[in-house]
Amino acid sequence: MIALLYLGSSIAFIVGMRRLGGPRTARSGNRIAAIGMLAAIVITLVNEEIASWGTVVAGLIVGTILGIWAAVRVKMTAMPQMVAAFNGFGGIASALVAAVAVVTSDLSELPLETSVTILISTVIGAITFTGSFIAFGKLQGIITGRPLLFPGQQFINAAIGIGAIGVGIWTLVASEIDGYWILAGMALLIGILAVIPIGGADMPVVISLLNSFSGLAAASAGFVIGNNALIIGGALVGAAGLILTIQMTEAMNRSLANVLFAGFGAADSAGGGTVMSDKPVKRATADDAAIALSYADSVMIVPGYGLAVAQAQHAARKLANALEERGIVVHYAIHPVAGRMPGHMNVLLAEADVPYEQLLDLEQADPQLPQTDVVLIIGANDVVNPSARDDATSPIYGMPIFNVDRAGTVIVVKRSLSPGFAGIDNPLFYMDNTLMYFADAKDALEETQAALLNM
């Protein structure tokens, strides 16, 4: 009977997830899933023989307050690290559930499959926890976004990974509780070591993958406590995270193994070199940008993370409005890896009330570029780098890009000539039809709009 009630929650998760996939139904989908969750919590509180209500209620209250506080305060630009943090909390919760199962029972008396799922839940949960908080630190700027590499790193990681498997087998064979704690510690370490060598630009992939992991941790916790709602919910999330991870790596034309293990974007690995930085660029002012824009019939805005950092999404929208009033057709070209997690840029532009129809993805926008008069690049870099197309030695060679160099005029709004997150120089900046407007994205857009009004 109780199992049937939990099944209701599982159905709510599936229906909710399905509705999250459509623009019109997404909000109700999220709420349906939330109601399913609330129902599952109530069923558990009523059904389980809870001996220490104080601990449970105190935990629920503290968690609710912290959760609301975080969710209400977070800025849309900080959404990727917020999701990473929530992921980490979910992961450690699953690991703790497994830990309680170990402490309150005797490993030697548990069936083997239960012991195995306890270890899996602990390991995946612990890796998700530390991995997510390293990702959080990189995105928040607490830890450097550059890959941290040291000699023998891959050897050490492999040794710890193999060692963890050994300790796990020892724990199972000898029913050794000390082995369990050593294994948990090693898993925490693996989470740190696995994410540290990954560059900030690859964090969208890492977050997607850790999202998948938090689902797998929940599913394995479901095996530990014998509850199908956890198994179903966890499997759904595991699958969803995996799909998004694969889509992200495809958008970068790289394999998952390459993202995780290649130390991509490390200081010395940047092919194509920084030797080009001596070349002259054409500097532009707000007036130059406004003149170029005013003579255009069609404008394509390519936003990147620089737009998010400068909180310039509203300024971009206002400039686009001013252009549209002059009869100029404006679209936004959104690269799959723009921003710091999949779909992040869409959220930021939606926050600024940019109409859904003006947002074009890679396949829609790129064929239009040769007919586009002016491309306005705001804080984007690698996704418009022609090296990805032309330079086989470039680390990003083969990544699908916007071929903006085929448009009439390119205006690049950027704070300085410094290379982007991946640390790769961009030949686009030195081309004849490129104007470099060095400024903060928000200031540049507002000043260009003001200059436009004076014409």
């Binding site: 929650s9 601990t55 992921n87 699958a239 969803a240």
Partner: protein
Amino acid sequence: MSPFVVGITVFVLAAFVGFEVITKVPPTLHTPLMSGANAISGITIIGAITAAGLDAGSAVQALGFLAVVTATINVVGGFLVTDRMLEMFRRPRERVRDDA
């Protein structure tokens, strides 16, 4: 069938459902989808409540309490922040109508 085999069966079928449900999501919704999925993975809160409810000494109580706190942050924060994001995806016209 043993409960473990049933569990494996449920897991595999649910994973297939997940793949089918997610495959055709427009990029615009990827961030809210991930954030909502993340909240659903907080279902581990059920295990956390069960663990914290055990009367088995202060060490277990401490572990259980931490599990409930972290799982609750994941659930409450995850669903709330997803709702905040999706609020913005509504057309401005709809927002005006709602405010009236």
